[in-house]
């Protein structure tokens, strides 16, 4: 069964702007794919529909067997715990340490303190942040901050990780590091969906690519087709 399925999904904002129009696709467990397109093509809206920051105007978004149209009240937060989100601007809590930021998803899930410590340190170690766990986000470089954001998104081992322009503010070397990190996640069963307008980066990763154009799914390119392109 797919992790995520969009069935003819449309999203129209107040004022009439159509952000998505009849978009359909599926994401399989352990798959990594990119969503690309020009600015305003609907990439961010698509990701927002996945973690229920927005709801579709028409069509269905299915997360596993769950139709997200029918998710309301406290179930919204339960759903969000199964989707890791990485933001372009990191969105770290600046008055809390790296450790506390990364521990948040585990605290929300009611994981025991001892277990939280183990998991947080394990993820920080993997991302090369072990020595920075007591630092405040403001004391970190942009690359480190983004890695903390990723650590926070993956520490609870979500079924799906969505990242909105995660390398937008990073230099090419750091961007490649972050992408390599994302590429390693499917091995652990986490599907990864990255929105990026950096076509060069997308091509280099050789993963499936969804191309959005004015809210419509213009193309769905497999890794093989991308290699041939």
């Amino acid at each position: 069964m797919s992790v995520l399925r969009f069935d003819n999904v449309s999203k129209q904002y107040a004022g009439g702007h159509v952000a998505l129009s009849d978009v359909s696709f599926e994401v399989q467990p352990g798959e990594m794919l990119f969503v690309t397109g020009h600015s305003g093509a609907g990439k961010s809206t698509l990701l927002k529909l996945i973690h229920l920051a927005e709801r579709p105007s028409r069509g269905a978004v299915l997360f596993g067997e769950r139709n997200l149209r029918k998710v309301h009240g406290s179930r919204v937060s339960m759903h969000r715990r199964q989707v890791g989100v990485v933001f372009q601007d990191h969105r770290l809590l600046t008055d809390r340490s790296v450790y506390d930021n990364v521990a948040l998803p585990l605290i929300l899930r009611g994981i025991r303190r001892g277990e939280i410590g183990k998991r947080v340190r394990s993820v920080l170690d993997k991302l090369g942040l072990a020595a920075r766990e007591r630092a405040l986000p403001t004391q970190l470089s942009a690359g480190e901050q983004q890695r903390v954001g990723i650590a926070r998104a993956i520490v609870a081992e979500p079924a799906l990780l969505v990242a909105d322009e995660p390398t937008g503010n990073l230099d090419p070397t750091l961007s490649a590091e972050i992408m390599a990190l994302f590429a390693s996640l499917p091995e652990r069963g986490t599907s990864v969906m990255v929105a990026s307008h950096d076509l060069g980066l997308v091509k280099r990763m050789k993963k499936r690519v969804l191309v959005l154009d004015h809210g419509q799914l213009a193309d769905d390119i497999s890794p093989e087709d991308l290699a041939d392109a």
């Binding site: 992790v3 129209q12 904002y13 107040a14 004022g15 973690h51 229920l52 920051a53 927005e54 709801r55 579709p56 105007s57 028409r58 596993g64 149209r69 309301h72 406290s74 919204v76 937060s77 339960m78 759903h79 969000r80 715990r81 199964q82 989100v85 969105r91 770290l92 809590l93 008055d95 948040l104 998803p105 605290i107 929300l108 899930r109 009611g110 994981i111 025991r112 303190r113 277990e115 926070r152 609870a156 081992e157 979500p158 079924a159």
Partner: protein
């Protein structure tokens, strides 16, 4: 899905531990917010404390006035001056009869001899001596148990009664003023309590605004409304608790400042009246009520904010 997390999820006792952990987290977070903004906290608590202290102070003044009027119990007493022909044994018998009535609390007999002694003590001995024999009648001091007006009418019908004296008017007026004062304190309490509620609500609203991004992040990470609301509820309760304690402190200082001069004034009138402050139980109740008020204000504002940030139902256009 999310199976690793599900495996790590605790059982019933573990969930109780989690619930405690979340409360400890919120408790510490709320204290941190207070510590980070000491001046803002002081201002909020100060305004709330004054809003609480005003009606509470009025209520205390009224309680003291009521206590004082209770001390001057004789204002309720009815003096029955018996006719001069009524002998002392007859007066004693009448007093005994009246003591058996249901509408009478107590009857005290003042004999002509006692009356004479009181007058002598008051410096009127020479005038009494000039009158020759003792002209004073026996007097029954009757303490009513029920309706004073009916009792006075009944006593006036006694054949032995010469004059029935009962100055009830000022007492009724005082009671009227006291009732009005208590009602005024209640109205002020409600209005200023509402003011305190709004002060907390506004402070928490500003705190929410300044932490909007943080709240959004928590929501994206899957925080429940309860998790987001809890630190603000604690914050409101802290404000209320501190304001309640501050208000009691202010009233205690005011009572200390007034107690001495008032005691001197009372002594000048032959009274041992002293100003009473809040007893510990009442003070504790005030602090708890103020904390509840703060919690309520914070809850209302946070609830409103959370309702606004929920994703719109499917099909409805969002902005």
């Amino acid at each position: 899905m999310d199976s690793a997390m599900r495996r790590a999820r605790p059982g019933v006792f573990g969930r109780l531990g989690t619930w405690v952990d979340h409360h400890v987290y919120s408790f510490v977070a709320s204290l941190g917010r207070i510590a980070r903004k000491p001046w803002s906290t002081l201002l909020t608590v100060g305004v709330m404390a004054i809003a609480l202290a005003l009606p509470l102070g009025l209520w205390l003044v009224l309680a003291n006035v009521a206590r004082f009027s209770g001390d001057v119990q004789q204002s309720r007493e009815v003096s029955v001056f018996l006719q001069p022909r009524v002998t002392l044994p007859q007066a004693q018998a009448l007093a005994q009869t009246l003591r058996g009535r249901g509408d009478i609390g107590n009857v005290e007999l003042r004999t002509p001899a006692q009356g004479l002694a009181e007058l002598r003590a008051g410096g009127l001995g020479d005038a009494i001596d000039a009158a020759g024999s003792n002209p004073l009648p026996s007097v029954l001091i009757v303490t009513p148990k029920g309706d004073e007006t009916l009792l006075v009418a009944s006593l006036q019908r006694l054949p032995e009664a010469d004059l029935v004296q009962h100055d009830a008017v000022w007492r009724q007026r005082l009671d009227g003023w006291l009732r009005f004062g208590y009602r005024l304190a209640l109205v002020l309490g409600v209005l200023l309590g509402l003011g305190a509620l709004l002060v907390v609500g506004n402070t928490v609203r500003l705190d929410i605004q300044s932490r909007r991004e943080e709240i959004e992040v928590l929501q994206h990470l899957g925080a429940t409304d309860g998790f987001i609301r809890r630190p603000f509820l604690y914050l409101g309760a802290w404000y209320g608790l501190m304001a309640g304690a501050f208000a009691i402190g202010l009233l205690t200082l005011a009572a200390m400042a007034l107690r001495g001069p008032l005691s001197d004034l009372a002594t000048g009138y032959g009274s041992r009246f002293t100003l009473a402050g809040l007893d510990p139980a009442m003070a504790a109740a005030v602090v708890v009520a103020a904390a509840f008020l703060g919690w309520l204000g914070a809850g209302a504002v946070t609830g409103h904010f959370l309702r606004q940030t929920r994703p719109a139902p499917a099909g409805r256009e969002s902005r």
